[in-house]
Symmetry: C2
Subunit: 305 residues, 2 copies
């Protein structure tokens, strides 16, 4: 189910369902939305901290529910990832999510919320977040790309054809071919951490997007092995790999566990913890053309006026 | 289903389904079994190394199948954990496991094999392993305890009443009461990594044993949250917690996620990556008495002559 594109002056809700941000990052957020022409509402969780969480579950949950319930909110932009969104899953009012139909923007730990949005039949946007990405130097292109997309919309038939990281194809991380299916997934650690729960994606016939950051090789192996043993890799119709920004890039593992399956696989997609990080719609049907290096949308995500 | 206790001169198969051992550790293994009065067969995986794996999957799998198929083998003692046993799960001949009825001994990454044994209706022994524990200085008591148990057997009605770590009760990690059910689980990371796969335990009415090592707090949180969202914590009848040898012991998290459920919870059980590490039978029905600090076996595990 699609959303309307953002218009100048729209109100963006920024909240922290996962980890806390540093005060310096918060100060830079107001100018960010101002220069893009949006009004900003920073919810209390953005200023809360409780160890690795941005305040207690009840606060982070209340912020999410408040943003969902407010008709003035045009989009929910998560402050940053870290860890903690998953803790909220069984407390979130799923009927409110369906009814509110808010555009959700985020990635990394926010994968848990993408899973919920998808389960409720809603698209969402895997994209850079303010505190972890957009307020940092050198991310101007990512900022421009995200806000241009939010304004211009993303419709059925649109083709995403970003410049791919050539190193991945050189590493043998490529399988040609075409596949069509719902684009699901996100951060590999979270995709695995949702297995066995009601929020695990239905991988049958899906295009599985994966990215990860800072995991040791044996952990990446364990995560991919869990996906394999759970039948997720076998059920998927194709794969899109974002950035794997580990100390040792796990190209050999990804080749062994994914490329050998012979399904269309497109690696080096510029989404994830690396740069550039371009927005990717999740929860919508797409046509993957691994030869051309493109994703064509089969349904509307954001309708511009 | 129970096994016969070991007798002097019995042949013990030592193999490496997971990670590789250092050569120094291997040299100390022969004297270990010799002084306990057993014959030892070191399988080729014990001397193999392929990064974090003890050789290729095919070799580790072949060793396991060979030990299972050999009538002369009285017990399979895993060399060490690390990572890799889980990779073998869908390649293991489950019918051979059922038919061979070999006692399996190990822990940590070997949790994946305990899950398979349990799925095939067989008990197994969560206990120290040669390379990671028994050849190290200061582990003489663990060696004595394990081999005494292997000789003397473990029968229905036997009560395990080890000295518990008093720090855990002081940390509020205790819920009194009694519960009866199959004792399942092992290493928390592996228990979570099996969720969504056919090897996840049926947690309904089970007594869930957990231990872990070296995980950051947010990771322990994510693992327990996955168990919670998957319904495992809600379905279990009670909890036994072994050692959590993390840099910051996650007592507050374990209290929040487990003790608040109000089910009998016994922490400080001397099994896991800490010392002492006493053998614990898995896959068998037990009666947990959290007030007395005991586990009573409801069925035979090892029958002595």
């Amino acid at each position: 189910m699609s959303f309307r594109a953002l218009q100048p002056g729209d109100l963006v809700a920024v909240l922290a369902p996962a980890g806390p941000a540093r005060p310096e990052a918060l100060q830079a957020i107001e100018p960010l939305y101002a220069r893009q022409g949006y009004r900003l509402r920073l919810y209390p969780s953005c200023r809360a901290e409780d160890g690795y969480l941005a305040g207690p579950d009840a606060l982070r949950l209340a912020d999410l529910h408040a943003a969902l319930a407010d008709d003035a909110v045009a989009a929910i932009h998560c402050l940053r990832g870290g860890y903690g969104a998953m803790r909220l899953l069984d407390g979130i009012d799923a009927a409110l999510v369906r009814r509110a139909r808010k555009l959700l923007i985020g990635y990394s730990d926010i994968t848990a919320l993408h899973a919920l949005w998808c389960r409720e039949g809603l698209a969402s946007l895997h994209a850079p977040m303010p505190a972890s990405d957009l307020v940092k130097p050198g991310r101007e292109d990512d900022e421009t790309a995200l806000f241009a997309l939010l304004r211009q919309g993303l419709r059925a038939g649109d083709v995403l054809a970003p410049a791919l990281d050539p190193a991945t194809r050189a590493a043998g991380l490529h399988v040609g071919g075409r596949a069509q299916g719902r684009l699901v997934g996100g951060n590999l650690s979270l995709v695995a951490a949702l297995l066995g729960t009601p929020w695990a994606w239905d991988a049958a016939g899906a295009i599985l997007f994966l990215e990860d950051v800072g995991e040791e090789p044996y952990r990446v192996d364990r995560l991919l092995t869990q996906l394999r043993l759970a039948g997720v890799l076998g059920a998927a119709a194709g794969f899109v790999l974002g950035s794997f920004t580990e100390q040792e890039p796990p190209a050999a593992l990804l080749r062994e566990m994914l490329a050998t399956l012979g399904k269309p696989l497109l690696a080096g997609w510029p989404s994830g913890h690396g740069t550039p990080h371009r927005p990717l719609p999740l929860g919508v049907r797409v046509a993957l053309d691994a030869d051309a290096g493109t994703l064509r949308l089969c349904e509307d995500v954001l309708r511009a006026k």
